[in-house]
Structures are given as structure tokens and as C-alpha cells.
């Protein structure tokens, strides 16, 4: 057996090193009269070539944790380290981080309309990324690369399309442009934040295909942030489930779907509306997601939990994320879910 140096960022059985190693990341939103814990003690490793799905409901901290690694949230990072290429991203200067963003770590956001500049031609915007991060290319080479990128993401007639403005593109096409922009500099990590949420289902299927292709083309590791379990089932190799700013469960995608070991994951999978079959009475998780200004004591999920059933330990003691044999869960009573079906 290999010596596992860090039990939260290393996957048992994998001998290579993670590309990105995040430990104990905490972010607070500083308000006038209180500091709100948006992200608490997040830890994970991202391995080369894998797609890590990050799933959670609105306000679970899934976007904030990923964006704060890159200095892109208004929140204040209060603890943690994010190792990439032997350096801690959180200790970098703003200028150093700017070199990383859009270069070795690139992003695709949910809303392609507000992420593109409406008054610049699409080709120009793509060339701009190349100019910043691939200075070895001359003007002609940039132009060729832009056309090539649009072809990779399936934009028809790219020589003409580079001269157009974002409003002349449909939602799905704009999202393709965003993906082209993200892979322009052959990133090693691609963070996609709800990349298909704003799109229709037929277009979503297209864009997910493009994302797969873009990943193959660049060999990047992907962090896919989504609330949609279907997208996770389609795309992810490993999954991290977040609730109230914490990682509550992580593991391989099949483990999580087939035998969840956290009651929240189980509830989420059980309440997902299915298209394949009509259910007369849907399972649902009672109550509402917590407000980070008034987090419950102990385990933040305990008031809605089907396993806790009012046990005192859940209300007083916050469970830590524990390694339970190559996967992780933060539940005092995870043993009771052993062998559970979603």
C-alpha cells in the first residue's frame, strides 16, 4: 500500500499527483454587521485528465469556492491553500494570478451573453485571449488559431463568423465561443460553472458534446459546477457534493449514484424528477436550504435529515469529512447508509 500523504486531496490507488490540491479553503462574506461563512474547510484534489463534478444547490458555496481560488469573488479567503504547479494560488499577487486565469486555468461561465463584450467582434475577443497568454503567436498565426478554435467547438463557417458580434450568435453558439475562448491557450484546468444551465435541452446536449471534445483536444482536467444531477451523470468521473459551504460527500460518480453515504446526497438523488418513469408521490427533502446568516448548529443538514431523526450529536457536533475507503463523507451516522440505494 502506498503512503497516503493527504487523506482529503489524494485518491487511494492513484499514484500520480493531483494537478490542483485544495486544502482547508474557507471564504467569508464580510458584511456591515456580520461575516457570513460562504465556504468552510473545502478540500479536494483534481487529477490530470479527470472531470470533477461539483454539485450543490444555490448558496451551497460551489461557485464561490472555485472562483475564490482564482481571486474572482468579493469574499475574503480566511484560510487554506491551493497548490498548482508547486505554487499556492492564494499567496500570489493579483498580477501573477491574472497570468494564470485564462492561461493554464480557464473558465466558462453560465451566462454567455454577459461574459462576451457586445461591442467587439467575436474574432477579436478570441484573439485577445491569445495575445495575452500566447505572445509567441504573431497576428497571422492568431487569426488562424481563432478560426481553428471555432471549428473545434462546432461553429459552422468560422471564417465568416469571426467578423460578427455576439448578438448575432444564438445562446448555444455563444456558449461555444466561450468554450473556444477557454481552451484557446490549452489550459490544464478548465472550470465550467453551470455551462449549460441557461440553454435549452437540445442545445445543452450539443454543448456538453462540445465540452467533451474540448477536453479531449486539450487534455485538460475539468471542474464542472452544476446543480443538475443529469449533467453530473453524463460528464463527471468523480463528484463532490456541497451543502451550506461544506463538502459533505465526495467519491467516484458511480459510487455516489449507486450507494450514497451522506443523507443529503441520498435525498438529492431521491428527489430528482425522473423523465423515464412517473411516480405518483415524489420523495422530497423537507424544509429549505439553510441561509448562511443563520446556519443550524452542529451538522448544517440535521434539521432536514432523514437519518439524524433528532439525535443530539447531529445538533451539537459538526461532522468532519472522513475518508471511508477511497471516498469521503461528513456524517456521524454514515454507517447506517451502507448499502443504501438512492
Amino acid at each position: 500500500m502506498t503512503v497516503v500523504t493527504n487523506r482529503l486531496t489524494r485518491v487511494a490507488g492513484r499514484l500520480d499527483d493531483p494537478l490542483l490540491e485544495v486544502e482547508n479553503l474557507s471564504v467569508v462574506f464580510v458584511g456591515l454587521d456580520a461575516s457570513l461563512p460562504a465556504v468552510t474547510g473545502v478540500a479536494f484534489g483534481l487529477y490530470p485528465g479527470e472531470t470533477l463534478g461539483v454539485v450543490g444547490e444555490s448558496g451551497s458555496g460551489k461557485s464561490v469556492s472555485m472562483m475564490s481560488m482564482l481571486g474572482l469573488t468579493p469574499g475574503e479567503v480566511t484560510s487554506g491553500q491551493v497548490m498548482f504547479d508547486g505554487k499556492d494560488l492564494l499567496k500570489m499577487s493579483a498580477q501573477e494570478r491574472r497570468k494564470i486565469r485564462g492561461g493554464p486555468i480557464a473558465m466558462v461561465f453560465q451566462d454567455p451573453m454577459s461574459s462576451l463584450n457586445p461591442v467587439q467582434r467575436v474574432g477579436h475577443q478570441l484573439a485577445e485571449t491569445l495575445k495575452l497568454h500566447s505572445p509567441q503567436l504573431d497576428k497571422k498565426a492568431r487569426k488562424e488559431r481563432v478560426v481553428e478554435l471555432l471549428r473545434i467547438v462546432g461553429v459552422a463557417d468560422p471564417e465568416q463568423r469571426v467578423k460578427q458580434y455576439p448578438h448575432q450568435f444564438s445562446g448555444g453558439m455563444r456558449q461555444r465561443v466561450m468554450i473556444a475562448m477557454a481552451i484557446a491557450n490549452s489550459p490544464r484546468v478548465l472550470i465550467a460553472d453551470e455551462p449549460t444551465t441557461a440553454l435549452d435541452v437540445t442545445i445543452q446536449a450539443q454543448v456538453l458534446d462540445v465540452l467533451r471534445k474540448a477536453k479531449d483536444e486539450t487534455d485538460a482536467a475539468v471542474i464542472l459546477i452544476t446543480h443538475d444531477l443529469g449533467v453530473i451523470a453524463e460528464m463527471a468521473d468523480r463528484v463532490m457534493v456541497m451543502y451550506a459551504g461544506r463538502v459533505v460527500e465526495a467519491g467516484s460518480v458511480t459510487e455516489l449514484f449507486d450507494s450514497p453515504r451522506h443523507p443529503y446526497t441520498k435525498g438529492l438523488l431521491g428527489s430528482a424528477l425522473r423523465v423515464s418513469e412517473r411516480v405518483e408521490r415524489l420523495n422530497s427533502i423537507p424544509g429549505n436550504p439553510p441561509n448562511i446568516a443563520r446556519l443550524p448548529s452542529g451538522c448544517p443538514f440535521h434539521p432536514r435529515c432523514a437519518v439524524s431523526k433528532g439525535r443530539e450529536r447531529c445538533a451539537t457536533e459538526t461532522p468532519e469529512l472522513l475518508d471511508i475507503g477511497g471516498r469521503w463523507t461528513a456524517c456521524h451516522f454514515h454507517d447506517e447508509l451502507r448499502g443504501a440505494q438512492a
Binding site: 444555490s58 446536449a205 450539443q206 446543480h227 443529469g230 453530473i232 430528482a272 425522473r274 415524489l282
Partner: protein
């Protein structure tokens, strides 16, 4: 209960909503956006009809036209045996009590400066129903019906979560005892764990009050859980309609087939096993729809006739399942991926 056996509560016949557009210098160039272009629907009491389509398909405009929020430019809406557009404005205000709408966004559809209690009571105040005390009693009844506590009534919308706000939207719509609720994407903006709660709630309310629902949605999984019958709309026209199970288990129109096959898988073990139809391109703009069948440029079965002739909605077999496709049949086979 099927619509054929009973007198339908709601019927639209050839419903059209065309928006004039002015473009060019001084708006001299005129064109029309045919948002809704000849839609026939029927809906009986106690029944849920799903109106399913992607963005820009005209599903919301259809709902709004039924409520006269966007006046129809053609066709008829018959509610409870009366042609809605013939009712004079004064009388219509009273008539409109019978059908109410719940909007998609529970954030922008509630007045942030009103308490929950006054939001729910407002339709009764506007309609001049009851006195203060009886209205308060009705508000408490409604809060209870939608699963909120009467203490929630004294709060403001900002203090409530998305799911709770949507419950308020539903309570407000029910305040005047309508017979029909138009539900415009009522769970789309909610988190996964709350969607199931609201679907269950809507089903309970329907069972208790015997309402008819027109359920407008782009989300096929919600439609599967909610509806009795389904109508699929594409660029302002119904392309397929029928009982829920038929539409989902044996879709006949290529668009319905593509739509269903595009839904993400439910378990990672199904990866690579699904027969996905990935459609070419995007839906065209309703201001300039393709000739013939609107779907033909994206269709995997299209032949020459499709670009020339617009297919009419026709019955398939013996049920009330129909599709508007030259090649639709009960045995349409999905193409191999």
C-alpha cells in the same frame, strides 16, 4: 378523466398571437413575429395539460393570450363555453377570477414592500370580495393549504426562500377560487430538493380542489411527473399532442423524439447506452420561420416535401394522440446514433 368525455373547461381554436415589428429607417420595414400560430388545445376540469417547448416556442405567449394578457390576433379562446375575447372589459375583470396565473420567477413576481398576508389578500381586495376579517380568515386558510404557517403571513418576501415564495405565488393565485391555473414554469427556478416539494403540493391542491392546470414548461422530467396530457410546441405550432404515457413512451414527431433523447441520463451506468439524437443547429427565429414544416432544417428525417408543405396535425391510430409530421406514424423508429 379524459377531455373527450366531458365538456372541456378551456378550448383554444386556431389561437394566434402575431406581434408587429418595425425595423429599418423610421420603422418603415414591417414584419410580423408569429409567436403563436394556430394553436388548438383542450383542457377539462381536474386535468393537467403540459405545454412543452423550448425558449421562443410561444408557450408562455399562449398562456398569456388565454388570460388576455397578450390579446390574441386570431382564433378563439373558449372558457366554460364562452368566447373570452368577446367579453367586454368591465365584465372580463370579474370573469378573469376563474383563471389565474403563477409566474416562473418567485422573486420578481411578489411586491417586496408588501407583507405575505397582503400579497395573498390583494386579489380579494381588488375584486371587492369579503370584509377584512373574512379575507384574513381566507388568507390563513390559503397559507395552510400551501404548507406555510400563519406566522409566515407577517413577513416580507425577502425573508423567505425561493420555495416558500413560490408557495405564496400559488396561494395568491388560488385566492379567488379559480377553476383554471396557468402555471408558467413554476418550479424551473427552484433547487432540486424543492422542485419535488412543489410538484407534490400542486398535485395535492388539484386533488382537493379539482382544478384544471395548464402547465407550461421546458423541463420534460417535471412534465412527466405533473401532467395527464401533453402538447409539444415548436415555433408557435403544436407538433405533437396526446396522453402523457404515449408521448413519453412512443413519441411520433421527430422533434419530440429528439427532445426526449436530449434529456441527460439519470445514472452514470447508462453512459454510452442511450440513443441520442443530437439536432443540428438552433431553433429558427419566429420572425423568419423556415418554409413548410418549421422543424425541417433541424430534422433528421426531413425530405423534399418538408420544406414545401406544412404538415397538419393528424390523428395516429385510435387514441387522441396526434402529430404534425409528414412521416409521423405509430412505429417511427429512432435513428441509430
Amino acid at each position: 378523466m379524459s377531455a373527450a368525455e366531458t365538456q372541456p373547461l378551456l378550448k383554444t381554436e386556431g389561437l394566434e398571437v402575431h406581434f408587429p415589428v418595425r425595423a429599418g429607417f423610421f420603422g418603415r420595414r414591417r414584419s410580423t413575429i408569429k409567436a403563436v400560430d394556430g394553436v388548438d388545445l383542450t383542457l377539462a376540469l381536474g386535468e393537467t395539460l403540459g405545454l412543452v417547448g423550448e425558449s421562443g416556442s410561444g408557450k408562455t405567449t399562449t398562456g398569456r393570450a388565454i388570460m388576455r394578457l397578450n390579446p390574441p390576433t386570431g382564433g378563439q379562446v373558449i372558457f366554460d363555453g364562452r368566447a373570452v375575447q368577446d367579453i367586454p372589459e368591465r365584465e372580463f375583470r370579474k370573469f378573469r377570477r376563474k383563471f389565474q396565473i403563477v409566474f416562473q420567477d418567485p422573486y420578481s413576481s411578489l411586491d417586496p414592500r408588501m407583507t405575505v398576508r397582503s400579497i395573498i389578500a390583494e386579489p380579494m381586495v381588488v375584486a371587492g370580495i369579503g370584509d377584512r376579517a373574512s379575507r384574513q380568515a381566507r388568507v390563513n386558510e390559503l397559507l395552510d393549504l400551501v404548507g406555510l404557517e400563519s406566522s409566515h403571513g407577517d413577513r416580507y418576501p425577502h425573508a423567505l426562500s425561493g420555495g416558500q415564495r413560490q408557495r405564496i405565488g400559488i396561494a395568491r393565485a388560488l385566492a379567488l377560487n379559480p377553476q383554471l391555473l396557468i402555471l408558467d414554469e413554476p418550479v424551473s427556478s427552484l433547487d432540486v430538493s424543492l422542485q419535488a416539494q412543489i410538484v407534490n403540493l400542486l398535485k395535492d391542491i388539484q386533488q382537493e380542489l379539482g382544478l384544471a392546470y395548464l402547465f407550461i414548461s421546458h423541463d420534460l422530467s417535471v412534465v412527466r411527473q405533473m401532467c395527464d396530457r401533453v402538447a409539444i410546441i415548436y415555433l408557435g405550432r403544436i407538433v405533437e399532442t396526446g396522453p402523457l404515457a404515449e408521448i413519453f413512451d412512443s413519441p411520433s414527431h421527430p422533434y419530440t423524439q429528439a427532445l426526449l433523447s436530449a434529456v441527460p441520463i439519470e445514472n452514470p451506468n447508462e453512459r454510452g447506452k442511450s440513443n441520442r439524437i443530437v439536432l443540428r443547429g438552433d431553433a429558427a427565429s419566429p420572425s423568419n420561420p423556415p418554409s413548410g414544416c418549421h422543424f425541417h432544417p433541424r430534422c433528421f428525417r426531413a425530405e423534399e416535401i418538408c420544406s414545401k408543405e406544412s404538415p397538419a396535425l393528424r390523428h395516429l391510430g385510435s387514441t387522441d394522440h396526434s402529430a404534425a409530421c409528414h412521416f409521423a406514424g405509430p412505429k417511427t423508429v429512432l435513428p441509430r446514433a
